[in-house]
C-alpha cells in the first residue's frame, strides 16, 4: 500500500531559483513580505507583482502550481473586495446601486488593492516552498538562526529534530493508513455520527499510532547512537551550503526593492 506521500509542494527541477541558497531565499521572502505590507500605492504593488512574475518564470514551475494557493484563499479574496467596495448609501458618486447598497470607485480600488496584496503574498511565499526541498529549508533555517548559538540556543539540534520530523511524516501517514485499514476490517467506522462521535472513532487509531511512534523514536535513538551521533557540534554535511555571489546579489536586489517600495512608492 504505497500512496507516494509527498512532502509539501516542492517541485524538483533545475532552475536559477532552485539553485539559490535557501538562507538567501528566506531573506528574500522576508524582505518581500515586509515590502508587501509597507507598499501603500499601486505603483509599489506593481513593482512587487513584476518581481513575483519574474521569479515564477525564472523558477520554471508550472503557473498552475504557483497559483494553487490562491484557490484556497479565493473566498477571503471575494470577501475582501466586497467588504471594501460595498457602501451603505455612500456620499460619493456610486458606480452601481442595488437597493440601499452601492459600490463606489474608491472602495472598489482599495478592495482590489488588498486582494492583489493577498494574491502576491500567497504566490510569493509559495515560490519558496516550490523551489526549496524541506531538508534544504531546514538547513537554511539552521543557518539563518545560527547567531542564536551565542545565546546557547541549540540551533543544530533543533534543525536535526526538524529534519527527522520531516523524514517521518510519510512513514507515519503510511502507518496511520495501515492501522485505519486494520480497524475498518474489524468493523470500525470513521464516517458516521457527529463531529464528537467521529473524533472518538479515531481513538483506536491514535493510541496504537502513538505507541508505535514512541517505539520507533526509541529504536531511532539507538541507531543514531550506533552511528556516532553526539549532537550537532563538529558534524559535517554532504552539501556545505555557503552564500555565493549570486545569492548575495539577489539578496541585495531584494533589499533595494524593499526600500524602494517602502520609501518611494
Amino acid at each position: 500500500m504505497r500512496r507516494g506521500v509527498g512532502l509539501g509542494n516542492y517541485i524538483a527541477v533545475d532552475s536559477p531559483v532552485h539553485a539559490l541558497d535557501p538562507a538567501a531565499k528566506l531573506g528574500i521572502v522576508s524582505a518581500f513580505t515586509v515590502g508587501l505590507f509597507t507598499a501603500g500605492t499601486f505603483p509599489g504593488l506593481t513593482l512587487l507583482a513584476v518581481t513575483v512574475i519574474v521569479g515564477t518564470l525564472a523558477a520554471s514551475v508550472p503557473i498552475s502550481a504557483a497559483l494553487r494557493g490562491v484557490r484556497t484563499v479565493s473566498l477571503i479574496l471575494v470577501l475582501t473586495i466586497l467588504a471594501n467596495a460595498l457602501r451603505w448609501e455612500p456620499a460619493t458618486v456610486a458606480l452601481v446601486r442595488v437597493g440601499p447598497l452601492a459600490v463606489d470607485g474608491e472602495g472598489l480600488a482599495s478592495g482590489v488593492f488588498f486582494a492583489v496584496r493577498i494574491v502576491l503574498l500567497v504566490v510569493g511565499t509559495s515560490l519558496l516552498t516550490l523551489t526549496t526541498s524541506p531538508v534544504e529549508l531546514a538547513g537554511g533555517i539552521e543557518r539563518v538562526f545560527a547567531p542564536l548559538r551565542w545565546l546557547r540556543v541549540p540551533v543544530g539540534d533543533l534543525a536535526m529534530t526538524l529534519t527527522i520530523a520531516l523524514r517521518f511524516i510519510p512513514t507515519t501517514v503510511e502507518e496511520a493508513d495501515r492501522i485505519m485499514t486494520a480497524q475498518t476490517a474489524r468493523g470500525a467506522r470513521f464516517d458516521r455520527g457527529g463531529p464528537i462521535a467521529r473524533a472518538r472513532a479515531y481513538a483506536p487509531v491514535l493510541v496504537p499510532l502513538f505507541f508505535n511512534l514512541f517505539r520507533r523514536a526509541d529504536e531511532l535513538a539507538t541507531a543514531m547512537e550506533a552511528r556516532c551521533y553526539r549532537g550537532s557540534d563538529g558534524r559535517t554535511q554532504l552539501r556545505e551550503s555557503r552564500m555565493r555571489p549570486a545569492d548575495w546579489a539577489s539578496l541585495l536586489v531584494a533589499g533595494i526593492l524593499l526600500i524602494a517600495t517602502g520609501v518611494a512608492l
Binding site: L7, T222, M224, R227, C228, T236, Q237, L238
Partner: protein
C-alpha cells in the same frame, strides 16, 4: 577482532535474570559469523553488546583491543563497528538516500570532499548509485535495508554487526542483502556478525553460533548445524523446502553437498 570474553548480561530491572551467560566468541576480519537462536535467546542483546550500545554485566567485550566499557573510547568502538538493525525504517535518518548515508561519517566530522567520495563508494558497493537522490520512503524494503548497510559502510568500519537484517524482506530483497553480506565479509574483508534465524542466511556463514537461553549451545560450521535436526529444532530454525529435498536426495544416495539451500545450487549439484 571482536572478542567476547565470558560475557554475562542482565537488563536493569530484570530481577537479575541474565540475558546472556558466559558467552565467549570472536569475529576476525574477513570472517562471517552467524548467530542463531529462538526468540528471546539473547541474539539482539549480543549484537548490541558488540557495538558498546550495551555493556557487559560481567566479562568483557573488546574490539581490536578497545574495551567497550571504556567511556573514553566507546565512540572509537562505534566507528569501528557498523550496526544494521532489523527494521530499516527505524534507522534511516535522512530525507534523501545520500544524505542518510552521509549521516554516520558526518557525525565523525569527515571533510565534505571525502564525505562525497565515501557516500558514492558506499552506494556503489550496495548497488544503489542510481537511487542516491530518492526519498527513502519510496524505496522497497530490500532497497531501504541496503541504504542502511551503505550508511554503516560509509563510516569505514572494520566490522559489521547486522541484527536480523533480512527478516522483514521479501525473498528477492533477502537474496540481494545476503549476497551483499557475503561479499562484504569474503571479498571486502570485513568481520561480520550476522544475527539471523533464516537457514539460507546461516548456510553462507563461516561459523554459526546458536544461543539458547543466553548460553552458547552450538559453535561450529553451518553444514554441521544444518544436518543436526535436533539442534535446528531447539534453535527454532526451519529448513527451507529445497533444503529438506536436498537432504532427502542425499539420503537416497544423490551427490548433493550438505547445506544446499536454494534451487540453483541443487540443480547445479545434480547436473554439473
Amino acid at each position: 577482532m571482536i572478542r567476547f570474553e565470558s560475557v554475562g548480561f542482565a537488563y536493569p530491572g530484570s530481577g537479575g535474570r541474565s540475558a546472556l551467560t558466559r558467552v565467549t566468541l570472536t569475529v576476525e576480519p574477513g570472517e562471517l559469523v552467524a548467530v542463531a537462536g529462538a526468540n528471546g535467546s539473547g541474539k539482539s542483546t549480543l549484537a548490541r553488546l558488540a557495538d558498546g550500545l550495551l555493556r557487559p554485566t560481567s566479562g568483557s567485550v573488546t574490539v581490536d583491543g578497545v574495551d567497550t566499557a571504556d567511556d573514553e573510547r566507546v565512540w572509537d568502538v562505534r566507528s569501528l563497528v557498523g550496526m544494521v538493525f532489523q527494521d530499516p525504517d527505524d534507522q534511516i535518518v535522512g530525507t534523501i538516500v545520500e544524505e542518510d548515508v552521509a549521516f554516520g561519517p558526518g557525525n565523525l566530522g569527515v571533510a565534505p570532499a571525502e564525505l562525497r567520495e565515501r557516500v558514492d563508494a558506499s552506494l556503489a558497493a550496495v548497488g544503489l548509485s542510481a537511487l542516491s537522490r530518492r526519498e527513502p520512503h519510496l524505496l522497497s524494503e530490500g532497497q531501504k535495508q541496503r541504504v542502511a548497510i551503505a550508511g554503516a559502510l560509509a563510516m569505514r568500519p572494520a566490522y559489521l554487526v547486522l541484527d536480523e537484517p533480512t527478516s522483514m524482506l521479501d525473498p528477492g530483497g533477502r537474496r540481494s542483502v545476503l549476497d551483499l553480506i557475503d561479499g562484504l565479509a569474503h571479498r571486502e574483508g570485513h568481520g561480520v556478525l550476522h544475527v539471523s534465524h533464516d537457514a539460507t542466511g546461516i548456510a553462507r556463514a563461516d561459523r554459526v553460533i546458536v544461543l539458547e537461553s543466553g548460553c552458547v549451545a552450538y559453535d561450529g560450521t553451518p553444514a554441521g548445524l544444518l544436518s543436526d535436526q535436533a539442534m535446528l529444532a531447539r534453535a527454532g530454525i526451519a529448513l527451507p523446502e529445497i533444503g529438506v529435498l536436498a537432504d532427502a536426495l542425499r539420503a537416497l544416495g544423490a551427490r548433493v553437498p550438505e547445506g544446499t539451500m536454494d534451487a540453483e545450487s541443487l540443480v547445479g549439484a545434480l547436473w554439473p
